[in-house]
Assembly symmetry: C2
Homo-oligomer: 453 residues x 2
């Protein structure tokens, strides 16, 4: 007899991942039937028109097919610094992109990541503490795997949050401890709400193990300031928690009065060295936007060697992350420097993308706030708006988003998929579509909102 | 306080993966200290000199950097069929390799996989039943995730086996039900041993859920015949088990009196349609050998839609597998056809690799069997020898392999990492090194074995 649904574990059945949930499936159906759909459900930059950086793709092409380097007819098409870096990558991998690398990733690339962190934050960073992964998602799962050993293990997760966290905690059989972000203060983290969430969990017999922080925030668009991060570190320290910090949107800061600070840097500033830290970065976001290449890294700090060995062992079971993704990670942390031949094009492409994202974030937030019944906080960073919406009494935001899709072809994710204060309603949409489409989005949404009953 | 080892779950601590275990770590130390090490521990073809197929790398380079297609200077360097296929891939992905694809993988590539299976086996195959993954390992883990819901769930695993299976079953909190392969009959599967393992498990209160079969076998090198596969299907059917069949070495069959039969084909031949089947293929093995690109697929059969939806949901949490790996999977299942410009070079490269592998398998098996105290079954397929060794009384094969490494620089994996009949000792080594190195391997091993006390 085939496998039955009732054979499956509850942890599998209960796992939810709204970003690719039933609304997106329905959108695909509508599109197949000839309807025009505007996808705002997922941060997939190149699917919404963002161009890949030439620098990255040139290095990838040369690494994939090194014969291009050998022939004068083809090698002339590549800037000399690109050719040199491709050669350096090939040499560092020893066997090119077709062989498994060390489980943690190619050493030279981990060294480049460590230099990037050291330069970004003015702190020490070690290649042995870097793990290259198939996107940040896989690394987050690796960290949670190590931290969850039973239902009693609690992981503090912001509400709203990116559902990778809730899905993985459920799947691994741990317990999610929700802590609310303060929408009235641009979704910042409040010590009071952290302590309350912590105490609630302890009262229920849960042992809090770690706190997850997304900075810049997904779906909130918030960028935490130095004080807020310092507060979270102090909170974690006083309660013996590890910190998981999702910093994949670190390049996506749009408002001039905000800056990105890494948790590693703030920890160093505070002189804290007894809190275990797992931080994540990705090639999928920022101006890189190479989602399909599935690359990124995890950096760990303040973990005993014997625990690090366990993480290495787990990583080794799937052998290594994909090499092209490792190469893109190398390109991300090692961009062309001023004076190198590929620098001007790189800067032009990068700045064009960032200018566009900044402009779109502004247009989208202003547009949303111009619609009666919809309110959106400042989009300081990341790639999303998470506006609060007014829905007719008795309706949910799930229903709202389904009806919006059917009526207008706009595909967004209901707030319930990320979590929200009971009684409030939201949806998430990305800032990524081209400006004309964002205007179209806002107009269609306004018309829908005005007539929705 | 940082995370302590004692905080980690037993399932993490107990997970073992010998292929990258302590012996390999010691080998790396020796190499760093200037010693010459011959690595036989892992099936990593391109790290041992196998060249990538030009066809695959050309398509990858064009997909990564499509500007190469637009310029006459560069496009002339690529055969026209390669250029055309790269265009087809780019069109099918819609946005190139930088965007997330559908969670299950690009539809056109899944269609190509389905055609490949249909053509290989003369049976129907559906793109909706194909899941593209970051290597077969990840797909195996996905299938086991669905099948294991508690410690009481048993998964039948051959002994010896590839430790991905034991590691994942341990990590997911299930129970391994070992069934022995019959070394005296070239490691084939015996019904009697299957029934015995099944009954033993049931007596212990375990509910057997599935049986894993590796064909061609890793580490055994066995290739199962049609009757043996039919017997396993009948066994699974009579005990209500799902089948997981690891067919990643399907191209690696070296002896003329053996042929590869897929479980899907034998099931169709038998008219069986009520046994759930998960089968796995990979771009890492055979003459492709693209381990670093982490690609492969899982095909599922005879699963109810509601279970398929759960698998799709789990796959969606990590968004999609890497696109370059998907492209290599496309190339694997859609090679150049006779008459296409890239066909002659493709055939020459492919045949050279297969001729080498065939010759090396023979040389290695003969060499091993020429050493007193060592006996090796026929290497009918896959990429390994798993010889039985005589060790001095009181010693283990772990000790043997460590001492071998220290004395000779040969790095192999002890039989204990794969499992073996108590009282027997083995190690696994690959057939991949170049012929001269295989001769060197055999000579050094012979000298070691003769003097080992």
């Amino acid at each position: 007899m085939p496998v039955r649904l009732t054979d499956l574990s509850l942890t599998v059945l209960e796992t939810q991942y709204a970003v690719r949930g039933p609304i997106v499936a329905r959108a695909a159906e509508l599109e197949k039937a000839g309807r025009r759909v505007l996808y705002g459900n997922i941060g997939n930059p190149q699917a919404l028109g963002q161009k890949p950086l030439s620098y990255i793709r040139q290095i990838l092409a040369l690494c994939e097919y090194p014969a291009l380097l050998d022939s004068p007819a083809t090698s002339a098409s590549f800037p000399s610094d690109v050719a040199e870096k491709a050669r350096r990558v090939l040499e560092a991998t020893k066997y090119g992109l077709g062989a498994y690398s060390e489980s943690k990733g190619v050493l030279m690339i981990r060294e480049a990541v460590a230099s990037f962190i050291a330069e970004r934050d003015g702190i020490e960073a070690r290649p042995e503490s870097i793990f290259l992964g198939d996107g940040a998602s896989k690394s987050v799962q690796l960290a949670l795997r190590v931290l969850i050993s039973s239902r009693a293990d609690g992981i503090m997760v912001p509400i709203p949050q990116y559902p990778l966290y809730s899905a993985t905690i459920t799947l691994y059989g741990g317990t999610q401890i929700p802590y609310y972000l303060d929408e009235d203060r641009d979704w910042c983290v409040s010590r009071e709400l952290l302590e309350r969430a912590f105490m609630d969990a302890v009262r229920k017999g849960i042992k809090p193990r770690a706190i997850c922080v997304l900075n810049p925030g997904n779906p909130t668009g918030a960028v935490l300031d130095h004080d807020n991060i310092a507060m979270i570190i102090d909170f974690a320290r006083s309660h013996d928690l590890s910190i998981l910090t999702d910093e994949v949107y670190q390049e996506d800061v749009y408002l001039t009065d905000f800056s990105f600070y890494s948790f590693a840097k703030v920890m160093a500033d505070l002189g804290v060295s007894d809190v275990s830290l797992f931080s994540f970065h990705s090639i999928s976001k920022g101006f890189i936007g190479e989602c399909g290449h599935r690359g990124g890294y995890m950096e760990i700090r303040n973990l005993p060697d014997e625990v690090v060995e366990q993480i290495e062992k787990l990583q080794s079971v799937s052998l290594c992350s994909n090499l092209p993704g490792q190469v893109v990670t190398y390109c991300m942390v090692n961009p062309p420097r001023e004076g190198e031949p590929s620098y001007p094009l790189y800067v032009a492409e990068r700045d064009h993308i960032m200018d566009e994202l900044r402009a779109r974030a502004k247009i989208l937030a202003e547009g949303l706030n111009g619609i009666p019944g919809i309110h959106c906080t400042r989009i300081a960073g990341a790639m999303y708006a998470f506006p609060r919406i007014t829905v007719p009494s008795g309706k949910t935001d799930d229903q709202y988003c389904f009806d919006l899709l059917e009526a207008t072809g706009l595909c967004v994710v209901p707030g319930s998929g990320f979590g929200q204060l009971p009684g409030t309603h939201h949806f998430r949409t990305t800032i990524l579509p081209e400006t004309a489409q964002i205007h179209e989005f806002v107009e269609k949404l306004a018309a829908f909102q005005a007539s929705y009953k």
